[in-house]
Amino acid sequence: MSSRRSRQSSSLGPSSRISDDQIADLLSKLRQLLPEIHDNRRSSKVSASKVLQETCNYIRSLHREVDDLSQRLTQLLTTIDADSPEAAIIRSLILQ
């Protein structure tokens, strides 16, 4: 990943803030991971803070989903014993 700081406007140290290049890089990669990101303006000037905010929101929503799914699975996975139908299917999935 490029560590050029071509557009840094301040005299702060190298790791004290995320550069525009890195934000652009992050944004393009995030777009691939998260197609619904609000990229109405396809310019390279989407604000850094907006990207960070979208990222944080997305991570939080993923955390919530994991928690909800854990709750759902609690009822369903009483045991992963060898005879359950889930075990058979899981085994076949893993062994592929």
């Binding site: 990943m1 995320i18 991570i59 994991v66 992963i80 139908p85 999935l93």
Partner: protein, 194 residues
């Protein structure tokens, strides 16, 4: 039929994601079987904790120590599992409460309160509008970077450059975790309905 370059990249990404899902599922199921056999009598909330923590450990383990977030997550989640194991093995099952609270606290500390979009208050002497806007933006980026650091395991000690790299990797791993868990939940629900 010609594939555009981005299509080729998508196929490659899909293939690597599929292999990650497989690895995750395998590790997770193995661990669950281990925990399940040694602790047959568990409450619903304990089971949920085991399922979630073992899913986190599995998600992090397949990284094989290559990323910082995965190492931090293994440490955190393993502590949670150890507390559970210790209390489950003790004869006095009432001793479980402190560990449940500590695990809950640990999991809760990973979630942070929603950062509301606030108007940043400037308490400095009046400056030209352009400079003001820039300093607001800078402050906002700094604040949101801090929020991100709290969300990514081990993020506190990362510099900004590695934070971004780790974030991207972490998000992709979370997607793998969610996809597999969702598939398993839907499949199980479907089977149980029959």
């Amino acid at each position: 039929m010609t594939f555009s370059p981005s299509h080729r990249v998508d196929l490659k990404r899909m293939a690597s994601k599929a292999s990650l899902k497989q690895k995750f599922l395998k590790k997770w199921m193995e661990d669950l079987r281990t925990y399940g056999s040694s602790n047959p009598f568990t409450t619903v909330s304990e089971r949920k904790r085991i399922i979630k923590l073992s899913a986190d450990i599995a998600m992090a383990s397949i990284q094989e120590g290559a990323t910082k977030w995965s190492r931090a997550l293994i440490e955190n989640a393993s502590q949670g599992m150890d507390t559970f194991k210790k209390s489950a093995m003790s004869d006095d099952r009432g001793a479980r409460l402190p560990s449940a609270a500590s695990v809950a606290k640990m999991i809760a500390s990973k979630k942070i309160s929603k950062s509301r979009r606030r108007r940043t208050r400037i308490c400095k002497p009046p400056r030209p509008k352009r400079l003001q806007a820039r300093s607001i933006a800078k402050r906002l980026v700094k604040k949101r970077t801090q929020v991100l650091k709290n969300l990514v395991p081990g993020g506190e000690s990362m510099d900004d450059a590695s934070l971004i790299k780790e974030t991207l990797d972490y998000i992709m791993s979370l997607q793998v975790q969610v996809d597999v868990m969702r598939s398993l939940a839907c499949m199980s629900e479907h089977l149980h309905r029959k």
